[in-house]
């Protein structure tokens, strides 16, 4: 703890006092026309930010000291992998996890089950976007558009043509994939910021079309009375339906993990990574950039389409307000927070980002503030995400020459 750090912390404290002064100190009572000065709050802000500033500089000093020294500790992902590789630990761990997942809707209220289903939906959305952003390195800010395509496919096909959930699920997925390719074509030449802007605009276009094309989508008032999914033609009560959707989503998560894992570790998966790392070298080594990008967009969109169908079936009512940029931002935050390209990371990220705000409700008005603070802290202390991606190693069958 040196003098410069203390001076810096003092500066930070003053700055925060200044910034939060109007919010935290002054309270205008408009009825009585008086101003209340809450000086105690100012003290808290000052002490709090002073302490936090000292803490961060201590942390960074420690981290800088560690640079250069090769850490004996392998990355978290590797440690987790070695820890779970032992079947004696693996079986009970996965068994307990599976058991918990299965009994969950019977242990907890349907309210809790609903929240968990939502979290599972975001797991799949995160894993889908992870293909585009994490693996292929294409910053897509309009991912919610594909989610909307899926949701409206089911809503419209169901209300107009009476098509059932299971029929529309693949249709929604295919339509979303088609839209993925449609978005892919115009952005083939774009990279980085430009790609982000165009995909953002694409997301907004889809939302605006849904909002304004009344004949097609009934505009802002949305579509209601969408059927819940039926179980082999049996009508379900509301509670049964919630449980059913929970298991459906659970199955979907398992399938997604399986598929994304396989894709990641395949010829296409490697091509995506190469495209992310260096697109010129990637092409020079014989990879078709167009095809690789379009597959990433299409396969990423497919998951959003399917979750969209499930979303429409779950809420039975959809309108364009569910598909704003904020949704895309949340899904992107899941991918970045969890760790780009890491499946486990994205799963953890989805649970944190969806469940935390729910359970922070106790903090009432400060909920979003606390949420923001947690995110910022995470990004400072683990910029690579919770679980950084590790590359797999391979077995060689050596031929004796």
């Amino acid at each position: 703890m040196n003098f410069a750090e203390i001076r810096r912390a003092l500066g930070v404290a003053l700055w925060f006092v200044f910034l939060t002064f109007p919010l935290m100190v002054i309270r205008v009572d408009s009825i009585e026309s008086t101003i209340e000065w809450r000086w105690m709050n100012m003290l808290w802000v000052a002490v709090g930010s002073f302490a936090l500033s000292l803490l961060t500089s201590w942390y960074f000093r420690r981290r800088e000291a560690a640079v250069g020294k090769v850490s004996d500790k392998p990355p978290l992902a590797v440690r987790l992998r070695t820890w779970t590789a032992d079947p004696a630990r693996r079986l009970p761990l996965f068994g307990a996890l599976a058991a918990f997942a299965i009994v969950f809707p019977f242990l907890f209220s349907s309210y809790q089950t609903n929240i968990m289903t939502t979290a599972l939906m975001y797991v799949v959305l995160g894993l889908g976007l992870n293909i585009v952003v994490g693996l292929a390195g294409l910053l897509d800010l309009g991912y919610v558009a594909f989610y909307a395509v899926g949701a409206y496919s089911y809503a419209l096909l169901n209300t107009h043509f009476g098509l059932g959930f299971w029929t529309v699920l693949p249709i929604g997925a295919a339509l979303a994939a088609l839209f993925g390719i449609l978005l892919g074509f115009p952005v083939l030449r774009l990279r980085g910021d430009y790609l982000a802007i165009v995909t953002l605009a694409f997301g907004e276009i889809i939302r605006l079309v849904l909002e304004n094309w009344n004949d097609f989508s009934q505009g802002p008032s949305g579509i209601s009375n969408i059927e819940r999914p039926a179980l082999f033609g049996i009508e379900l009560t509301l509670n049964q339906s919630i449980t059913y959707l929970y298991f459906l989503m659970l199955l979907m998560v398992i399938i997604t993990i399986f598929v994304v894992n396989r894709l990641q570790d395949s010829r296409i998966g490697r091509a995506w990574l190469a495209l992310r790392e260096d697109d010129i070298a990637c092409q020079a080594m014989g990879i078709d950039k167009t095809k690789t990008k379009l597959t990433a967009f299409a396969l990423g969109a497919t998951w959003a389409g399917m979750v969209g169908v499930i979303f429409a079936a779950k809420t039975t009512f959809i309108n364009p307000a569910s598909f704003t940029f904020l949704e895309s931002a949340i899904i992107l935050a899941i991918v970045v927070l969890g760790g780009m390209g890491s499946i486990l990371g994205v799963i953890i990220g989805a649970f944190i980002l969806i469940l935390l705000p729910e359970y922070l409700r106790a903090l009432a008005d400060y909920r979003m503030l606390a949420f923001g603070a947690i995110l910022v802290t995470m990004m400072i202390f683990r910029p690579q995400g919770i679980i950084a991606n590790v590359r797999r190693t391979y077995q060689f069958t050596r031929k004796d020459a």
Binding site: V259, R262, S266, M285, T295, N389, R391
Partner: protein, 265 residues
């Protein structure tokens, strides 16, 4: 040296302009099967631009690039995409190393196998036996190439953690994985110490003996003179001399380009 008479690469009148800069001016060049050919010239002569035009990264403003892999038809490469050209049998390395940094050494080479393999989405998801075989073939083939270039003990390291010399060799390994009939090397010895350069010399000869013709850009004159069957010298985008190492090193135009204008010029 078993040289064949058919030219694997034939470049005719290749020109490339960037706005006002004529980076390549009516360049002619040929590489035959079994040859090691060097392309040399002062900084900014247009050597890298030549590689970029030939491999489809730039589209040349004029001229023809014809590739004839042994036993195959001649194709005109102008206007083709880099990946198509790679598949036709020409691969390259980069002067400013362009490895896939956050992938392992082995994975870098596996990327080179991409254009010689075919499994796609369904293969990736369901992994039928032929996809498994293909994956194993990719791994084994890549590993064999890494053994050849001397990187077998770092296969699972991230490529960004390799030394400079190792990274240059990995670039060669990655290019070899595409099974090129012609390998283009852009300053492969840059940043290498004398011993590494010595090993590089052996490696390039071995690559040639295994049936890949080599065209290399290099500033290390000792390496160039030892290694090359023929040399092309360029300056300001033009070819100023060509011939065997002896012929070229005695050429007055070459001496002038390298040493600057002499007094009586």
């Amino acid at each position: 040296m078993q040289q064949s008479n058919t030219a694997i690469l034939e470049v005719k009148g290749l020109s490339m302009a960037f706005g006002g800069i004529q980076a390549l001016n009516q360049l002619d060049l040929k590489v035959h099967g079994g040859e090691i050919v060097a392309l040399i010239g002062p900084n900014g002569a247009g050597k890298t631009t030549f590689f970029n035009c030939v491999t489809g990264i730039y589209t040349p403003t004029a001229g023809d690039v014809l590739l004839t892999p042994p036993g195959q038809k001649t194709t005109r490469l102008n206007g083709l995409k880099p990946n198509v050209i790679a598949k036709r049998g020409m691969a390259r390395t980069f002067q400013n190393i362009r490895l896939f940094q956050n992938m392992t050494v082995l994975e870098n080479v596996m990327i080179g196998r991409h254009c010689r393999t075919s499994s796609f989405i369904l293969g990736a998801i369901f992994r039928p036996p032929h996809t498994r075989r293909e994956e194993q073939e990719i791994v084994d083939h890549s590993y064999a190439i890494l053994e050849k270039v001397g990187l077998a003990d770092v296969v699972n390291d991230f490529s960004k953690n390799l030394s400079y010399g190792q990274q240059r060799r990995l670039e060669i390994a990655r290019a070899l994985a595409t099974e090129p009939s012609l390998l283009l090397l852009d300053e492969p010895a840059a940043g290498m110490n004398p011993q590494e350069t010595q090993e590089l010399d052996k490696l390039i000869r071995r690559i040639r003996d295994e049936g890949h013709a080599v065209l290399l850009i290099e500033h290390d004159m000792k390496l160039v003179m030892n290694l090359s069957d023929r040399i092309y010298v360029m300056d300001y985008g033009r070819r100023i001399a060509t011939g065997t190492p002896q012929e070229v090193s005695a050429d007055p135009a070459v001496i002038k380009a390298y040493l600057g204008e002499s007094d009586d010029a």
